[in-house]
Amino acid sequence: MGLICNSRIFSKKMIVAGIDAGANRVKAVILGENRMLGAITLDAGKQSATQAITEAVSQATAIVSINISTIDRFAITGKWRSNAPFATREVSDSLSLARGINWFLPSVRTVLDIGSQKTLAVSCVNGVPFKSQYSDRCAAGNGQYLEMVAEILGVNIDELGKFSLEAESYIELQNVCTVFAESEIITLVHENKGPREIARGAHRGLAQRLYPLLLSVGIKPDIAIVGGISKNVCLVRELEELIGEQLMIPSSPDIVSALGAGLVAYENASE
């Protein structure tokens, strides 16, 4: 992976599992031997949080061909971090995010993590978080907003960004609320307005709602975006236009916080 990592952390011969138990997806990372051994993102689907966490760890260990009993430490972050069925260190979201992004992109001083039910902005230096700001009250500032747009327009969520960028103009949505915007989009489609232009407008609206979150923690380059939505090229473009800076995206944006949690477990392994 060509990573710059703090060799002090990996001087201990340990295997650590870092878990990010998010609202819809559980991410598990196995760390050891001076590097990340493997990672998995699991859709929680119909499982309870506890089941999903167990399943994610099980699959991650299978991928790297180790037995779960060889894991020396577990660390967990995310919404459902209290739901692990085994002894684990709980790590705050902002610490996990700061540590994790520092692993991938050490020059980053501002990071935005867009989940499906929460968005977190953190200002940090060398993996140490300073200011953090949450948005988890309203779906219109999170990934679920775009999931709604994709569903209504009949576009695959993974294609939505590319689809929206094909539009050269945009239709501004009057409603912020995800539920009302849903009706508004249905009406616009009914009126034969261009779906790409509608989608572009929706992305712009979301970017405009994310921008103040970044401002509140202070925007200092390099700026990174993580979480599943960071793969959305239209949202990245809209945000870059608003901020006036290029955004960095780590090679594995989903697992940044899980990895960060694992690193914290490593650091504290003398306990």
Binding site: S48, V176, T178
Partner: protein
Amino acid sequence: MNDLVAGIDIGSLSAKVVIMCGDEIISSAIILTGHDSVKTSTQVMKLALQNCGRELGDINCIVSTGYGRVNVPFAQGNVTEISCHARGNQYLLPLVRTILDMGGQDCKAIRCNEYGRVVGFAMNDKCAAGTGRYLERVARLLNVPLGEVGPKSLDLVNGPVSIDSYCAVFAGNDVIRALREGRHVNDILAGAAEAIVKRILSLIKKVGIEEAFCLSGGVAKNVGIVKRLERELRMKVNTAFEPQLMGSLGAALFAQDKLIGLKRLA
């Protein structure tokens, strides 16, 4: 000879008409609004006229209100929903001074005086939480007809499920999760009712509460909400006989005023 007046309320979800002759309501009609407000207004008026065997020309004055009030071609005037709701509710319940009107897409808290005139007002129309949409979403996810939501929410099995009160989308997620965890539908509905009441209360507090209190709009038919509000407010929650018609009733009363005014000028 008593004049005939009509009030028409074109809401985002439903369109309502009330026809009055003197002090008496002689007819009413409710239909779904659909995409065309003009067409809807004609349809609902026709229905109300049919119900009392009259024609449009018999009505001496028509006032419109609601979201689509400017799209009623045969109205002689229009008045805001807030004023009409206050007027309509206070007319039927003369002691009412605080009204909470929950529509499909908004929620309004209104303070009025003894003449039914608005003296205080707060509204949420930006966020689906605390509106009919929230309840609809929950009911749809649980496959429960709206009419059964109230009674079921009072018939608890284990206790109310914790449901997000700030966002209808997150509430939907909580409902799905609760279903997967095998929670009983009634308990989930109870949780949603608690959440909605929490939102309503914060809006009401913005205008202050003075007895008597009245709940208006479709949600007034939900006994689960009514009982819980009574518990929190520690006062009786009155509901008018047909809460959805309050806007159009108020509009009809304003139509009466207008007629009196016009007669004075003549």
